[in-house]
């Protein structure tokens, strides 16, 4: 009996995970990512002060992208431009962006 309950819980968890991901909208993400291209779409583009390359974000892992953008949104990462971007994003925007970016292949 506990085994069946365990299986059911696993199935429920699986279905939840699938449906949560299915809500992400690649097309909406692609539209939102237009803004990112200003810095992340220029090969070799560098942050001015201090001077370092802006990261490659195409192909980055989905959950990390969600976490990073959420941290900018909440002010847990200091970068001023990225904080400003994050503040304008809803949680769903962030998931859509992450879904699109993580789908890219070099």
């Amino acid at each position: 009996m506990p085994r069946i309950a365990c299986r059911f819980a696993l199935l429920a968890a699986f279905l939840f995970a699938v449906s949560a991901h299915a809500e992400d909208d690649l097309k909406a993400g692609k539209e939102l990512v237009y803004t990112c291209g200003g810095c992340h779409g220029v090969t070799g583009y560098k942050n001015a002060y201090p001077n370092y390359h802006v990261p490659r974000i195409g192909g980055q892992n989905y959950d990390y992208l969600v976490a990073a953008l959420t941290e900018y949104k909440k002010g847990e990462r200091a970068h001023p431009t990225m904080r400003a971007q994050g503040e304008g994003m809803s949680d769903q925007d962030i998931r859509n962006i992450a879904a699109y970016l993580s789908s890219l292949k070099p």
Partner: protein, 119 residues
């Protein structure tokens, strides 16, 4: 005979170079591979992450990786796990680690090769 000397010298030079490249920086005698060991638990030995909550490091810009580690150190990025790991790293360790992971072949790309915006 002269060519033998030259070969021996060359071998020494190569060996010295390899050791220099492998130098971790902060802790003497510790290679960057040793320093990178704890990172691999989450970021994987190939730098692509053991799960999707961890970022891919392989193929990322080394100066960005170094910057991120410094930010975890200063608190400009707040992450309890990363703060704990970078605490013990010297500037030389950070630079060596950043170059080590950046040099790995990865799946990261900038957006220059990808269409953005609406179709």
């Amino acid at each position: 005979m002269k060519s033998m000397h030259f070969l021996a010298l060359l071998a020494c030079a190569i060996a010295a170079n390899v050791f220099a490249a492998d130098e971790g920086g902060g802790a003497p005698g510790k290679s960057v591979k040793d320093v990178a060991k704890p990172c691999e638990a989450c970021h994987a030995a190939d730098g692509n992450g053991t799960a999707t909550q961890y970022p891919r490091l392989a193929g990322q810009y080394h100066d960005y990786l170094a910057r991120a580690m410094h930010e975890y150190k200063t608190g400009d990025r707040q992450n309890a796990i990363m703060a704990g790991f970078v605490k013990t790293l010297s500037d030389a360790d950070i630079d060596a680690l950043a170059r080590y992971f950046a040099a790995m072949p990865g799946k990261l790309d900038d957006l220059a090769h990808h269409e953005q915006g609406s179709d």
